[in-house]
């Protein structure tokens, strides 16, 4: 091998090595910056979703408060209203779903499934969820499958009393479907 050839090979390898190094460094830094931007965007979206959920949750909480204080719910708990009156109340409060239940979770009236009155509410909730002040996400059974919903539970108090038990120990549970149904 002549000196000229050796020199050509060495310089070629040097140039190729330098190009590979620069390319690698550029790729690495580009990936890092893309990942950083992606993470920021994801965080932004999650923040936005959390804010949206909080806002929706607060709105649902207020709607449920109004429903709990409404004459319809009081009448339902007093046993003086028709079993399907929760539908009208849910509509008037802008709630997609509304269940009025007793403390033993027996459904007095259900807006989204009127035929279920008299049965136990079977939402997969922990006991503390029933007294949680904030709205939360849960999977709710429906006649045709189930749905993910943002829900809030509130106690109903007052109203006329038809028997000796206090009505303040009964809970209406209200919820709002957050938008997507999981299964049919």
């Amino acid at each position: 091998m002549t000196f000229r050839t050796k020199l050509l090979l060495i310089s070629s390898f040097s140039v190729a090595g330098a190009v590979a190094l620069v390319t690698g460094a550029v790729l690495f830094s580009a990936r890092r910056s893309f990942e950083r931007i992606d993470a920021q965007r994801r965080e932004g979206l999650l923040d936005q979703l959390r804010r949206e959920l909080d806002a929706q949750g607060a709105e649902i909480g207020r709607a449920v408060d109004r429903a709990a204080a409404s004459a319809t719910v009081q009448q339902l708990l007093a046993g003086t209203a028709d079993y399907d009156r929760a539908q009208a109340e849910a509509e008037s409060q802008g709630l997609d779903f509304l269940d009025v239940v007793q403390t033993d979770l027996t459904i007095v009236s259900s807006a989204h499934w009127p035929a279920r009155f008299g049965y136990k509410n079977d939402w997969p909730l922990a006991p503390e969820d029933w007294t949680a002040p904030d709205a939360f996400l849960a999977r709710i059974p429906l006649p045709e499958g189930s749905a993910i919903a943002l829900i809030a539970a509130r106690p109903a108090a007052g109203g006329s009393r038809r028997n000796s038990s206090s009505l303040s120990d009964r809970l209406p549970a209200c919820m709002r479907c957050y938008g997507f149904r999981l299964e049919k």
Partner: protein
């Protein structure tokens, strides 16, 4: 004006009011009674049984025995009929000039016609009167196992349906004929037994259920039956098509043999007791009685003495 005239004026006014009230109660000759029904009566042959209560009522109305005070002036099968007063009726001419029957009007149209005063009698009213209909689940064929059919029957909470959904109207039943007609309906009573129903149902396939979607009462009962069935592990899905596994149907009760014909069953052999005939219809749970219900007629306040055709009259 003299004060002594006041009692005279008051007395005259009172007499006038009493006279007006009396005149309002007095039958009025003339006018047309307008009836709207959903069924499309195509034949007046009394041998052809009619399951739909309104169809049955109209066929009865158009039968010579009942429509004696009237003659059929126009008959368009499935569409319309007009009856005109029979001047030669031995019992005397009826008050009405004519009766117009519009067929094939769905319940929404009937309700609209009634509220606009276009119809005097529709099927959209409260269920009142004698229990002349049986609400039953009817299975088509044998492709659903008898055990599953029995499980469905045991799962239905008839009492709650009667108390809550029907607000004490009708009568919960396990029999085809009501107690007033047969006298032995109580012998078919069977209490609800969800545990046994769950045992019988096992891993039940999905059942499709069809019912009259226009009738809100029937729809609510069908939904409740589906919830009851779910408790026993039987899934029921309502479908709009006619060829479902089971249909919830309101059958007009005439006689057991008519009912057998409606259920596509052979009539009972001669000499069979009514109880045995009904028992044979119920065996196998191809038909599951749920409730006995009265007819549902909305009658305009301008109509008097309905359904006594000879004496029906309408306010002018």
């Amino acid at each position: 004006m003299r004060p002594t005239a006041l009692p005279w004026i008051a007395g005259t006014s009172a007499l006038l009011l009493v006279g007006l009230a009396e005149a309002a109660r007095r039958p009025y000759y003339g006018g047309t009674l307008r009836i709207g029904i959903r069924a499309q009566v195509r034949s007046l042959d009394p041998k052809e049984s009619a399951s739909d209560p309104a169809e049955f009522a109209i066929k009865l109305l158009l039968s010579p025995a009942v429509s004696g005070p009237f003659n059929i002036a126009r008959w368009e099968p499935g569409k319309a009929a007009t009856l005109v007063a029979n001047d030669d009726y031995p019992g005397g001419r009826p008050f009405l000039d004519s009766i117009e029957i519009q067929m094939g009007r769905d319940l929404k149209d009937q309700a609209l016609d009634f509220s606009l005063g276009k119809t005097d009698i529709t099927e959209t009213g409260e269920r009142k009167g004698p229990l002349v209909n049986t609400l039953a689940l009817v299975f088509e064929g044998d492709h659903i196992a008898a055990q599953l059919r029995e499980a469905l029957s045991l799962s239905i909470d008839r009492q709650t349906i009667q108390k809550v959904l029907l607000k004490d109207q009708g009568e919960a039943t396990n029999a085809l004929l009501p107690e007033w007609q047969s006298g032995y309906a109580f012998l078919f009573d069977k209490p609800r037994d969800v545990a046994r129903a769950r045992q019988l149902a096992g891993t039940a396939p999905l059942l499709t259920l069809t019912y009259d979607r226009q009738d809100a009462t029937i729809r609510r009962i069908a939904e409740r039956i589906a919830v009851n069935a779910m408790e026993a592990g039987i899934s029921m899905r309502p479908v709009a098509t006619a060829n479902a596994d089971v249909r919830l149907e309101l059958l007009h009760i005439a006689a057991l043999n008519d009912l057998a014909a409606l259920l596509n069953k052979p009539p009972s052999p001669a000499g069979t007791s009514s109880y045995d005939a009904e028992r044979s219809l119920l065996d196998g749970f191809h038909v599951i009685p749920v409730m006995h219900l009265p007819d549902s007629w909305a009658v305009s306040p301008r109509v008097h003495n309905w359904p006594d055709l000879a004496n029906v009259w309408v306010n002018p």
